[in-house]
């Protein structure tokens, strides 16, 4: 066993950190948008930053060099993910989705032409995909999706409704799961398509999230005709492609670093804030609460490191990713809630108040962290995976 990073990895960490100090725009730091809080202005700043990251090869560091990646080792990718998260770099869910799920899936299942058309573009941040998975009646039970894609002479015609499409209003393409064989069993008749969001027949309607921000959308497909060549992989085998993609490196690796920063800020706050003439840091209950966050975050970090380490050994984590995801999401919720208790009334203030503490980050996290244990497979589904895949418990 060896729990340390190599000299080379540490040097890489310093390189990334230094680069980020120069490259994260001052304006982004002022705006300080949290997860699910992008505005038009922050989106534009973020896209510009992502292109810089792409030029450096750090947006899709795992990709082959010919597709704009660096073929970076798993441990260096872990280091990069940690630094990006800790520095609050302008990345967001849809970038991770585009790079880790869509780009990686195209490399695995796509045609040569698709690889040429999309993968490098993904790695260079020239295009953003939104996910067309969930439907009003297909959430955790994704295999019950009803959106249809019917093969006609030269095209597929799509009809149906998708929902929770993150940044669907800004995305260039939709990575769509649709039913191509309604007579087959649930898992056998699904296919994956690339759909240009400018195609006629697509209507995007905003869903305003709990942070009062427009991040999600309903997307309606009304006789949308797409070229046949936009089918990815095998027709009717989309479910299996989708499942493999879900096991790709999950973004949970960076979450412990995101949370670390918040915990450090809470510790700083406790040291600098006086209540009833005493620093909060002297309050035994607050010390105990903050220490528990440190402990839990350390645990979350180790669970994420396990995923990177397994990949580095050529192993394929499945239920281990679920463990990491469930754990870190719950730690982040507890962190936000502990932060609210420590801040008391000050935790209620939104960031435009002159009394607000640290840009109201804790209050916003208290809201945004609700999404982490839900999106990408709810914690209940993840626990089912741990129980059935990890422990071999029976389905029936």
């Amino acid at each position: 066993m060896d729990f340390k990073f190599t000299e080379e990895e540490e040097a890489f960490r310093r390189e990334v950190r230094q680069w980020l100090q120069q490259e994260i725009p001052q304006r982004w730091i002022e705006l300080d948008p949290g997860i699910w809080e992008e505005t038009e202005e922050s989106w534009a700043l973020a896209r510009k930053f992502q292109r810089r990251l792409g030029q450096r090869g750090w947006l899709a560091p795992a990709y082959p060099k010919e597709y704009g990646g660096l073929e970076l080792s798993h441990m260096k990718r872990l280091v990069l993910a940690e630094e990006l998260a800790y520095s609050r770099a302008p990345l967001s869910i849809e970038v991770e989705v585009t790079v880790n799920w869509v780009g990686s899936s195209i490399m695995l299942f796509g045609t040569e032409k698709q690889k040429k058309d999309y993968v490098t573009g993904v790695a260079k941040a020239d295009m953003i995909f939104c996910l067309g998975y969930s439907e009003p009646n297909a959430g955790s039970d994704l295999a019950s999706l009803q959106t249809r894609a019917v093969e006609v002479s030269d095209a597929y015609v799509i009809n149906g409704q998708k929902t929770w499409c993150s940044y669907g209003h800004l995305a260039d393409y939709c990575w769509l799961a649709a039913r191509t064989d309604p007579d087959a069993s649930r898992h056998e008749g699904i296919s994956i398509f690339i759909v240009d969001m400018k195609t006629p027949g697509i209507t995007v309607r905003p869903l305003i999230n709990i942070l009062n921000s427009h991040s999600f959308n309903e997307v309606f497909f009304d006789d949308v005709r797409i070229p046949k060549e936009n089918l990815v992989g095998q027709k009717n085998k989309g479910w299996y492609q989708l499942m493999i993609a879900l096991d790709f490196e999950r973004s949970s690796i960076g979450y412990a670093a995101t949370n670390q920063r918040i915990i450090e800020e809470l510790i700083k706050y406790a040291k600098e804030t006086t209540r009833n003439g005493e620093p909060l840091a002297n309050d035994l209950l607050i010390r105990n609460e903050l220490a528990q966050l440190v402990v839990e975050n350390e645990v979350a970090r180790m669970m994420a490191y396990r995923i990177a380490w397994m990949f580095s050994k050529g192993l394929h984590p499945s239920y281990e990713s679920s463990m990491s995801m469930v754990f870190v999401s719950e730690v982040m919720r507890r962190t936000a809630n502990a932060g609210m208790r420590i801040l008391g009334h000050y935790g209620e203030l939104d960031r435009d108040s002159k009394w607000a503490v640290a840009n109201a980050r804790i209050m916003r996290m208290c809201l945004s962290s609700l999404s982490i244990g839900v999106g990408g497979g709810s914690n209940e589904i993840q626990r089912n995976i741990i129980a059935m895949r990890g422990l071999g418990l029976p389905r029936k």
Binding site: M1, A291, M303, R306, W309, A387, L391, G392, K396
Partner: protein
């Protein structure tokens, strides 16, 4: 970074598991729990024969030169199987202290004896205040004619009733700083004035009251430096906490395995209870507690093994694992239902072990206080 065991550790783990399955069945565990001495001398000598008692000592002291991480691997297996006896007190509390702080003469005398399974040791630290800070050390050792006379009551001393030697932490000087003036003595357990009484405890783990009623020891029995023994005690407490975590990881894994196997077999409403989501989610939570405990424990053990500062990681591990094992044992009981509420069923052995392990060397609150301090609070 490598989070896996090396080949030698895998072998140690495998052979320990097989040996203990065969040689330390639960009938034996129960019999030893009920006995006064709490260990089997036959099993003890066989473990010594396998090199376990000398695992972490260098070869020149009769050991096999393994490191603390290897010891953690072995302790995990001992925790998995529950091995009653003075292994922990002798090797971790006694042996490691002498190895780290003892004089060359003490090392030459005691370590080979421990390695051969001939000597049983323990550490007498806690007193009726039952806490692990320096101020709680009230027992006194008064220098008199080139000797020391020890007076005081030690409580919760593991396996003292079968120990040949007891490392006694006593106060040799009183100053304003409670950490100053502490000295550790290696005391022959047969010394006149030393009285040991077995305590009846939840885990039936042979904790004792040890009364030192003017016990006279020689100057040569001082381990480490006179008056400056507290850093050494802190060091051994840190190692003991991590070593205990390793044992707990094994115990938690066993409780999880037992519960999962039961959930697969027990049928109600015409299907195995393990197919119900309520039970599945208990099991998923238990599995997360077990794996997370293992990683934080081995990280701390690795730091100890490498000689790196380990105060934060040891405290993180003990704070986390203490509660995680408790949760796992409790959920296991819930899954076993009524049958778990009997003396006959083995799961209660793990529940008891979890409670005792949570408390010893400082519980979660104690270690969170350390984490707070180490985090700059």
């Amino acid at each position: 970074m490598d989070l896996g065991l090396n080949e030698e550790q895998e072998m140690l783990r495998q052979s320990a598991r097989e040996f203990l399955r065969r040689e330390c069945p639960k009938q034996l565990v129960r019999r030893l729990d009920e006995s006064a001495e709490g260990y089997s001398s036959e099993l003890w000598h066989r473990m010594a024969g396998l090199g376990w008692t000398g695992l972490v000592f260098p070869e020149e002291y009769g050991g096999s030169g393994h490191n603390f991480l290897d010891l953690a691997v072995l302790l995990e297996e001992m925790g998995y199987n529950i091995v009653p006896g003075p292994f922990f007190s002798t090797v971790v509390l006694g042996g490691l202290t002498i190895l780290t702080a003892g004089s060359e003469e003490q090392k030459m005398e005691f370590l080979p004896q421990i390695a051969r399974g001939e000597t049983i040791l323990t550490l007498a630290l806690t007193e009726p205040s039952a806490s692990y800070d320096a101020a709680s050390v009230k027992s006194e050792a008064i220098a008199r004619n080139g000797k020391y006379v020890i007076k005081g009551t030690k409580l919760f001393v593991l396996n003292a009733s079968v120990a040949d030697y007891i490392l006694c932490v006593a106060r040799t000087r009183k100053t304003k700083n409670p950490e100053d003036g502490i000295t550790v003595f290696l005391v022959d357990a047969r010394s006149p004035g030393l009285k040991c009484t077995l305590l009846k405890t939840l885990a039936r783990d042979k904790q004792c009251e040890v009364v030192f009623d003017n016990v006279t020891v020689s100057e040569k029995s001082v381990v480490g430096r006179r008056d400056e023994g507290w850093p050494m005690v802190k060091d051994i407490l840190q190692k003991a906490a991590v070593a205990k975590c390793a044992e707990m990881v094994g115990g938690a894994q066993a409780a999880l395995d037992m519960a999962v196997n039961y959930a697969k077999e027990r049928v109600q409403f015409g299907r195995p209870i393990g197919s119900f989501q309520a039970i599945q989610h208990y099991c998923a939570n238990m599995a997360m507690d077990v794996s997370s405990s293992r990683f934080v424990t081995y990280k701390a053990a690795w730091r100890v093994s490498e000689g790196l500062p380990a105060a934060l990681d040891a405290a993180v591990a003990k704070a986390w694992v203490s509660e995680a094992y408790g949760r796992v044992a409790l959920s296991a009981h819930q899954i076993f239902g009524a049958i778990g509420f009997t003396m006959d069923h083995d799961i209660n052995l793990y529940y008891r072990q979890a409670k005792a392990a949570e408390i010893i060397f400082g519980g979660a609150d104690f270690h969170r206080a350390v984490v707070a301090h180490e985090s700059g609070l």
